[in-house]
């Protein structure tokens, strides 16, 4: 990498990812079920990794992530609906779709980021359980507001959003959020966030503007939650307030805690496993139990998911309270290949 011109080096991984994912897109584009599953996984990975920036790195317990996801989904979805009949002239249809998708992701993300700023500014002066309650309240507030607004279709939600999300775009977003989280972790900013997690009083005494840092972490985190929400809106047939309840927030918190607070790779692995588990069980039951019995069983999977999560979490907290990965990273095990980014070049 040392031979690359300096300005390109920072964004080179993203360009590389665009290429690789573009190639993969051609391969997997024909497998709708795989694409759907990987989209679900991707969205949850984005949610978990972004929540990890606040809950894991900064040590602030936020449990309203679904609220920010909702902001992104609705704002992005609304924009997509407005742009539905438009296409950018002179380029292939598919590319134009993806550019429009990108625009609605950006808008959804920014809207959620703004919401994060507005919520974070007053509430991040609070600590621990108080912050948790405020974020919980915010999440529910968003849901109630949305289900009472005509523009967002009240309780019916938004339907007819163009299903333009693609394998490539989703995993590109995953790649970007992971890259961002890693680079934050490796920078002076990330160290300040970790310092706040470890000891807020000491961090403040060492010149870290703790409130400002917490708000920034919160904004970045909610931005990506918004992006995840907007992506979500582009591959499910309908979004309604029911998709963004407290249960969704808890699901994401479960992923972060199970993976290990502060461990990016832990969040990724936990998000993948906890998303696939119910899906795999469901299709397994369908296969095993035949059509009728199987369908009944498969339905049950959804119902028993939360109790199972609860039990899993209890077991995990008893046996390994720091989460599966603790605050370690998967890539620390392969320092040669993954390195610590640029530090390897020293």
């Amino acid at each position: 990498m040392a031979s690359l011109p300096a300005p390109v080096r920072g964004v080179f991984p993203v360009l590389l990812a665009v290429g690789v994912l573009g190639g993969l897109q051609v391969v997997v584009g024909q497998l709708p079920f795989f694409v759907y599953l990987s989209s679900l996984v991707g969205v949850n990975v984005i949610l978990a990794v972004s929540l990890n920036i606040v809950n894991g790195m900064t040590g602030q317990f936020s449990i309203g992530h679904a609220g920010f996801m909702a902001v992104g989904a609705y704002v992005g979805g609304k924009l997509a609906l407005e742009m539905k009949d438009l296409a950018i002239a002179g380029i292939p249809h598919g590319v134009s779709d993806q550019l429009q998708l990108l625009a609605s992701l950006a808008l959804g993300g920014v809207a959620a980021g703004v919401a994060g700023f507005l919520v974070g500014l007053p509430s991040l002066r609070l600590r621990g359980d108080y912050l948790a309650i405020v974020t919980l309240g915010f999440g529910e507030m968003i849901r109630v507001i949305v289900s009472n607004l005509e523009v967002f279709g009240r309780a019916l939600g938004l339907s007819g959003i163009p299903q333009t999300s693609s394998f490539m775009m989703i995993w590109l977003c995953v790649f970007v959020v992971v890259l961002v989280a890693r680079r934050i972790q490796d920078s002076a900013h990330g160290r300040s966030l970790l310092a706040i997690r470890e000891d807020e009083v000491a961090a403040e005494a060492m010149g870290v503007d703790t409130t400002a840092y917490k708000v920034r972490a919160f904004v970045i985190s909610s931005f990506f939650a918004g992006v995840a929400g907007a992506l979500f809106a582009h591959f499910v047939p309908i979004i309604n307030p029911g998709s963004f309840t407290f249960v969704k927030s808890i699901e994401v918190v479960t992923m972060v805690v199970a993976g290990g607070l502060g461990s990016i790779s832990g969040s990724i692995v936990a998000a993948v496993v906890l998303t696939l588990l119910p899906e795999v069980l469901r299709s397994l039951f369908l296969q095993v139990g035949g059509l009728e019995g199987g369908a009944a069983l498969a339905q049950k999977v959804d119902q028993i998911r939360m109790p199972v999560y609860g039990i899993l979490l209890v077991i995990l907290m008893l046996s390994r309270p720091q989460g599966v990965f603790g605050n370690r990273e998967l890539w620390d095990a392969f320092p040669r290949w993954w390195g610590r980014g640029w530090r390897a070049e020293e």
């Binding site: 300096a6 300005p7 080096r9 920072g10 964004v11 961002v180 680079r183 934050i184 920078s187 002076a188 900013h189 990330g190 160290r191 300040s192 970790l194 310092a195 470890e198 000891d199 009083v201 000491a202 961090a203 403040e204 005494a205 060492m206 010149g207 870290v208 503007d209 703790t210 400002a212 920034r216 605050n327 980014g341 640029w342 020293e346």
Partner: protein
């Protein structure tokens, strides 16, 4: 005489009816080495907390380098050149020794406007400066993007920080612990790491809250030498809270004695040691009576 680096005038703090500190005066000039002593609960750490902005004083003013800092947040006061350590060690436990120090090096990582320029803007306007705030905000914004885009300038800065932090670890004799988590360090080294961390913020005044607590005699002796050395090396003003009389008497030029929040004595070690009020505060009046008011040799 020049403006003191740190000055407290008539500082008082009351918690409800409790007068934790009253009428507290203090001057710290460059290369001063002063001590603050007193029995348990006398208000020593409270005084530190008021000086560093953790508590807002009920009365009186605190000035850092001539600027009134009442009501500023601890991190802002730290930026003006006041750093501290904590009585009950407050390291960033799961961070490495190096990262503990690098967190505090943060003050040097300004991207757009220099620290001096922001300070100038702040000084020009008397109270809250919109320009300074905007510059800080822009700095931070650009700085985040530099980190996310991994610009060459950012990488240079990170390397410079690491070099600086390494140097400080070396000064404090902790280089061999560089990559160990702070919580795994032995007690004495944790105390020294706290000092290294405080020094990394580039202070002009250093407040040490019981730096020798829990150390053995030999570690204490080493620490005394080290504190003196730091003063000359970084031309710091240093204020030490200490229970160990020998240490305080050995290194401080002036000692302030607190009891129930009141300053009961001030002066050079010999004078303070001989002051009946100090002896009374430490040993009780019955002791004085039994000794027939005879002044004992040591007050510890």
């Amino acid at each position: 005489m020049s403006t003191p680096l740190l000055q407290a005038q008539g500082v008082a703090i009351h918690f409800g009816g409790l007068k934790a500190l009253s009428g507290f005066d203090l001057d710290i000039h460059p290369a001063d080495l002063k001590g603050l002593i007193g029995p348990n609960g006398a208000g020593k750490t409270t005084a530190f907390n008021v000086l560093t902005g953790v508590y807002l004083p009920t009365a009186g003013t605190v000035r850092v380098a001539g600027e009134v800092v009442n009501g500023l947040k601890p991190h802002q006061i730290n930026r003006l050149g006041l750093a501290r350590t904590f009585q009950n060690i407050r390291l960033f436990k799961t961070l490495t020794a190096l990262d503990n120090v690098r967190v505090a090096c943060l003050s040097d990582t300004y991207a757009f406007f220099s620290r001096a320029r922001i300070e100038a803007a702040r000084r020009r306007s008397s109270k809250r400066s919109g320009a300074a705030a905007a510059m800080v905000a822009l700095n931070n914004y650009v700085d985040w993007w530099r980190a996310l885009l991994l610009t060459p300038g950012f990488q240079r800065e990170e390397r410079a920080l690491t070099v600086k932090a390494d140097a400080l670890l070396d000064v404090m004799g902790l280089l061999h612990r560089r990559d160990e988590e702070a919580r795994n360090l032995p007690y004495g080294e944790q105390r020294r790491l706290e000092i290294a961390r405080a020094l990394a913020t580039g202070p002009r005044v250093l407040l040490l809250d019981e730096p020798a607590a829990g150390m053995n005699t030999r570690e204490k002796a080493d620490l005394m030498v080290l504190i003196r050395e730091l003063r000359t090396r970084f031309s710091l003003g240093i204020l030490v809270i200490e229970h160990d009389m020998k240490l305080v008497m050995g290194i401080c030029e002036e000692i302030t004695v607190l009891d129930y929040g009141e300053t009961i004595a001030r002066g050079n070690p010999e004078r303070v040691r001989a002051d009946p009020k100090v002896i009374e505060a430490y040993l009780g009046d019955s002791y004085l009576a039994a000794q027939g008011m005879r002044v004992p040799g040591g007050a510890g």
